[in-house]
Amino acid sequence: MTALAVGPTHGALVVRSLAMRGMQRILRRPSIILPTIIMPVFFLVAFTGSFSGITNIEGYGTDNVYNWMTPYAILQGVTFAGVGAAGMTGEDMEGGFYDRLLLTPGSRLPLMLGPIGYAMLRALIPITLVLVTAIVLGGADLNGGVLGVIVLYLGALGTAAGFACLGLVAIYTLKSMRALLAIQVPIFALTFLSIGQVPLEFQTGWLRQVSESNPVTPILEMLRQGFLGAVTWDQTWPGIVAVGVLILVFGLPAWFQLRRMAP
């Protein structure tokens, strides 16, 4: 038998192979990435176009609606990327190829980190596309400078990982692509019931209560700060915590489901 290296290095290699396999798939069948590209850009254009008037309301925080809506559209793109990446695992399971992956010796963790890595790589596409559209089309301000952009990218990538975990827990549980339909509602609620379109102070009643406790709200605050002004730690750490919460809340059950499937 050939000497087998099965350890952390092996795990890292597996993660890389699986993530790159996803990206390669996009190159071979570009149609799978189309929703991830078109929808966020459409959201950016539609939300800024339809609601540009709200910048005139006292206390909106910016007079360029793109500064407010760009992180929201990026968030949408990132959820698509996360769920889409989990979809690859769903396809593998439906087709039977996933058995080959499960037969890998060593920890199951790389099998889960692979699609998460793919989600993050894939998320780079809508993040960049929305950002460029916002700057070119809407003159979005980068008041937070390079640091603001870095925080935007890192925060969005972390969020992509969180939503990939949500997709994976559904896929591991139902073992079919239908799982992705089932999580449309929670995703819609998480992104929509937040400070995506207007600040918390504008919101009334139930919506405000939900938005306040929605982990996506501090994430949006973190992503948005670089458009509105300088990057501060006060607007950053709650976002980091929230990303961590998303990853833990969805990632842990996903991990348990995967272990249950083939320990």
């Binding site: 078109i38 176009g49 339809s50 540009s52 008037g53 005139n56 819609f188 504008f202 009334t204 919506l207």
Partner: protein, 270 residues
């Protein structure tokens, strides 16, 4: 001899009506049996209305925003028409499914009248629209929305909903007949959504600017939404009622004609 022919004609007519009734019943039955088809079409517009009412209340004070009691009143027509429009695309999706699984061919080989194939589907859309209209209006009223023009306004809103369902249903039938693929019909869904969004449906065009404002103003959806909305938030106006009904009726007539041509060319290509 003459009597016989007369009876024969009558029976032809009544058979055609029977067939229409049967096919309409089939499409209504199928819709009702499939809650995953109509539930999102009810829930999504309601969610949108709930969230927008809770987050855009302050926008009511903006200069250019029409005089209105609540954002809920403002968004009521858009929510109802949105739900109706989404549901109506099911007509085409169902017909495409018929085409894909061969039931459509079976219909064609039977002596069923060609018109009843289209009518059956469109009646199905209209009935679904009427049911949605009742449910949605009741929920809106329950949450404090009001229709200023009273019962006549409600009637106009209902008629416009039915006509819109027929119009959108007609377009989706064209797609189904042309492509014969359910996937292609479903792919038109984002198009319906974006057409609706880039209009005065969710926010007044007066508060938009640049090219987006132009597109929204020229969007036929705005031409329909605006008079209907005035009936809801301002009060009765014969002009608004006539405009809304006239526009949707024209749209419906156009798409039905188009669908008829599409059916004919599909029959010819068989």
């Amino acid at each position: 001899m003459t009597t016989v022919t007369a009876i024969d004609d009558r029976s032809h007519l009544s058979t055609a009506l029977d067939q229409m009734a049967e096919l309409s019943a089939r499409s209504i039955r199928n819709s009702l049996r499939n809650p995953s088809g109509y539930i999102p079409g009810l829930v999504f517009p309601l969610m949108l209305a709930a969230v927008y009412s809770a987050q855009f209340q302050r926008a009511l004070g903006l200069p250019g925003f029409p005089e209105v009691d609540s954002f809920l009143d403002f968004i009521l027509p858009a929510s109802i028409l949105q739900s109706v429009a989404f549901g109506a695309t099911a007509a085409g999706a169902d017909m495409a499914l018929d085409i894909e699984n061969g039931f459509f061919d079976r219909l064609l080989t039977s002596p069923v009248s060609r018109a009843s194939i289209l009518v059956g589907r469109l009646v199905g859309s209209a009935v679904e629209a009427a049911l949605k209209f009742v449910v949605l209006l009741a929920i809106f009223l329950l949450f404090g929305a009001s229709v200023k023009s009273g019962l006549p306004g409600v009637v106009v809103l209902m008629v416009v909903s039915l006509l819109l369902a027929i119009a959108i249903g007609g377009i989706s039938l064209v797609l189904a007949l042309r492509t014969g693929s359910q996937e292609a019909v479903n792919a038109s869904f984002p198009l319906v959504f974006s057409t609706l969004f880039i209009s005065s449906a969710f926010f007044p065009t007066e508060l938009m600017n640049g090219w987006y404002q132009k597109v929204a103003e020229y969007n036929p959806v705005s031409w329909i939404i605006n008079p209907v909305r005035r009936l809801v938030i301002e009060g009765w106006s014969w002009t608004d009622a006539a405009t809304a009904i006239g526009l949707t009726a024209t749209l419906g007539a156009l798409t039905i004609t188009w669908a008829t041509f599409a059916l004919r060319s599909r029959l010819r290509s068989l």
